[in-house]
Subunit: 142 residues, 4 copies
DNA sequence: GTGGTCTAGACCACC
DNA sequence: GTGGTCTAGACCACC
């Protein structure tokens, strides 16, 4: 049985300040380190992904190549690209992606007019909600 | 002098669970409520945006139409779509978008293996950095 | 027992200056506010109505969608569209439809060469007839 | 130069209680007596009208035939159907159509919950508006 | 079966 | 050029 290729969400914009291949790398990296893609999973073929996101195949080549160099995937000529196993690198990347994500979140909030205090307040509110819900579920089980 | 149309960053993916027109709406809404697009600004024409993000014009029509119903933009047939002035609606939307953004941020963090405590820690770290930098800038000016 | 779907009279013309979806909206709105369709009634399915009036289903989608936004019906995906309960909106719509109907009536009369005075005369005549008939019915019962 | 055929608005519903040929007759009659169609105007060909309103040509034949018998149009074999001149008949028809229109208007209003008094009130309101507007226009010209 | 989304492409009015 | 409407038809998820 052939393993199905996981459909990832590629939100990409050719006109962005960030090059397309970087955007593609980001998506794949995120899916690898979050565990959506696991060791041995095959990526979409260069051509398929190119068609899917309406981008020139060469751009996909560049993204895949760099992901290979960085240790996230490996190419098996004639078979495709596959996710590698590499705890050290993944763990480092997790921290980087998380930190970047936090900074982007702050920046986005700021642009909307919300400061650090608003962020903390909202986070605490949601944290409380979750704690409540969990304790309710606990009660239901008893 | 003709006012230039602002180039927005549209990251959309046809294969996403979220419909394309919703993705487009989100981008435009965000740019309106964050002040990037202001009252009177013209949006890209239906056809231009369609070409730009390689989507069928009808899908853009649907996004623009709904944004009009929701009070963010207005259509002037033969001329284009323009950002409206609507404080009440924008202010409500800001809160909604912010809350959604917080929840997405938490969810993304969780998927990466970081919990509420990690988030608070990272946020505090960055907050501290910023405070430090600001006080340094103050010192520099003195 | 399955509730029967009420058959409405849809007179639409693709070549009219009024868009087809508006014509459809008008018919359904009228039937809702006049009480022919009541809360909970199911509308014809998109495809059935499309076949019935020989119009493309997408046009029906547009009409139903807008009626939903305006609060007259609601969609239950996989089940159908259903009439909502919404006194405030219905009462407002009644006034609007009535006023529009009066204006159309005047305009039609004018095109036939009858003025306001003819209209009042004819209305009074009919009003009298009715009053007479009612009093006769009363007499019959006594 | 060929005279252009006037595009009439045919709102017709095959599922109506009123037969389709009657609906067609009504539309054409109304356009003749209101002066939209004048003596000598050619009607759409049987086939064209059938296609236009997605109805079987035989139904159009029946409608045209009866309109001919009633003196509104005449057939010129090989050329088409043409509007006739017939003051007496038209004048009689005007009265009939007007009276029918008034009764339909009352009936529609009643179904919406508006009585004779509401009708009179609304008509007077609109009449007043019109008188006002006319006198303003008069003032403008002076 | 139901509604929902999307593409492809035509044709319209208005500027 | 601009937006607006419509048809034809595909494919999806949910029931």
């Amino acid at each position: 049985m052939k393993k199905k290729i996981k459909i990832l969400e590629f939100r990409v914009d050719a006109k962005s300040a960030m090059p397309i291949y970087e955007q593609i790398k980001e998506v794949i990296k995120y899916n690898v380190i979050s565990g959506t893609l696991v060791s041995g999973d095959r990526l979409m073929s260069l051509r398929d992904l190119a068609m899917r996101i309406k981008i020139h195949p060469n751009t996909i080549v560049k993204a895949y190549y760099q992901l290979e160099v960085e240790g996230f995937i490996e190419s098996k000529p004639g078979k495709g690209y596959f996710v590698k196993q590499n705890r050290k690198i993944f763990s480092k990347a997790k921290k980087d992606v998380f930190e970047k994500s936090v900074r982007e979140f702050i920046s986005k909030s700021t642009k909307l007019g919300f400061g650090m205090d608003d962020i903390f307040k909202e986070l605490k509110k949601i944290d409380k909600e979750r704690t409540m819900r969990k304790s309710e579920e606990k009660d239901d089980r008893n």
